[in-house]
């Protein structure tokens, strides 16, 4: 196989483009596709400050690397979820990445700052672990982005992630969720702008990007997520992709182009009923937000080890981070 651009030996085949690429031109493809998505969906302006949600996995570290390569001022945010060795190791990968590149990594430890971890918290609150984890992360990401005055919160969702979510929401015709599925969610009162710059890139390409850029990332998957529906959807979609390259891209971008706006009214209706949470002030359709309810149930059911100063976040390098309100 030869690189489509330079005819040198290829290291990867991208079947949906019917093309093969050498290292140099594959890395350029990843950066170009990210820049294209940022421009196409009006994600960022030149000079914007971005907070990257970093898990220690391939997608978020690749995204952070690409945004820096594209010239954006991008800081990272890592949340310690307390999922045993998995959290310890993923945190190490995030810290190593930041240290090697002299980047600023903000760290928030769920147990220390909020008094619970995902394994115990989800059980106490009678929520699925992925549900409790996602709810906690969204709340903390939003808060950190707003408090830090960032122009956008960037997540490493790739095209496979979006295809799997779209597949699941379509199977159950979750029209409220479909109305919110877009690569950009604009800033609103109480919410930061949220962007998904990897929307044009497949998961396989992000793994390849990390290998080629010598980015070490956690290979093991979260032990609490094994067997979830999201994975089954991805595997089903990859079977379709194997037979018909480009199907995942067509599925997601066809939705954006021809279907998403049909569900937009559902999302607007939700906006109308949002009011500040009575505990933390975050927007919520009920008196107390889901995160605060989760935190209350979780901390009531296990020993709570709060840090002396809840408002402090640890920062590996760079200037100090904004404070969080005292919830104790």
């Amino acid at each position: 196989m030869k690189c489509r651009v330079c005819r040198e030996p290829a290291i990867i085949d991208i079947r949906r483009h019917n093309a093969n690429f050498c290292t140099e031109h594959f890395l350029r493809l990843c950066r170009d596709q990210t820049a294209k998505a940022i421009k196409e969906f009006d994600m960022l302006d030149e000079g914007d400050r971005v907070l990257v949600a970093v898990s220690g996995g391939k997608d978020s570290l690749a995204l952070w690397d690409i945004l820096i390569e594209l010239g954006y001022q991008a800081d990272g945010l890592y949340i310690g979820l307390g999922i045993g060795d998995y959290s310890d190791e993923s945190g190490d990968f995030a810290r190593d990445f930041a240290r090697q590149r002299d980047l600023k990594l903000i760290e928030v430890d769920l147990l220390r700052e909020y008094g619970y971890d995902v394994p115990h918290g989800s059980r106490a609150a009678k929520r699925a672990p992925c549900s409790a984890c996602g709810l906690s992360k969204r709340h903390i990401f939003d808060k950190a982005a707003l408090d830090g005055g960032y122009d956008a919160l960037a997540t490493g969702h790739n095209l496979d992630d979006e295809a799997a979510v779209l597949f699941g929401n379509t199977l159950r015709w979750q029209v409220d969720y479909l109305g919110r599925q877009h690569p950009v969610l604009p800033a609103r009162s109480g919410f930061p702008k949220k962007i998904k710059p990897l929307i044009r890139l497949y998961e396989r390409e992000m793994a390849a990007y990390c290998v080629l850029q010598n980015i070490d990332y956690i290979l093991e998957e979260c032990p609490m997520a094994v067997g979830n529906k999201h994975i089954a959807y991805k595997e089903a979609l990859n079977q379709i992709e194997l037979q018909s390259p480009g199907s995942k891209l067509d599925f997601v971008f066809g939705f954006f182009a021809r279907a998403a706006e049909r569900f937009a009214s559902s999302d607007a209706a939700i906006d109308d009923v949002l009011a500040p949470c009575t505990t933390c002030g975050a927007p919520t359709p009920s008196g107390e937000c889901a995160f605060c309810r989760l935190a209350e149930r979780a901390t009531a059911a296990q020993p709570v080890r709060l840090s002396p100063r809840r408002e402090k976040t640890s920062v590996r390098s760079g200037p100090s981070t904004p404070s969080e309100p005292d919830r104790a």
Binding site: D59, L219, N228
Partner: protein, 81 residues
């Protein structure tokens, strides 16, 4: 040829090389779901893996995926090939 599957890590050997695609077919793995790294370098499907190659097969699906590969991989691991 030594083959290492990740997540979870399993190792086995073949006494001869073969193309990347043939190896994936043997293991019943979807090429869209994995990366193949031979002697530290990423390789596309048409590359022939050498008899003495060290091959790593990495799942690219995040969110809880493991490389199961069904009975084919289990048999290969048990048989040492």
């Amino acid at each position: 040829m030594k083959v290492t599957l990740r997540n979870p890590t399993r190792e086995f050997e073949y006494d001869h090389g073969m193309s990347v695609q043939k190896l994936l077919n043997k293991l019943e793995l979807n090429r869209e779901s994995v990366l193949v790294i031979a002697d530290g370098a990423l390789v596309p499907g048409d590359v022939r893996l050498a008899d003495d190659a060290n091959v790593e097969i990495r799942s690219v699906i995040s969110g809880g995926s493991v490389i199961s590969g069904g009975s084919v991989i289990s048999e290969a691991v048990e048989a040492g090939r």
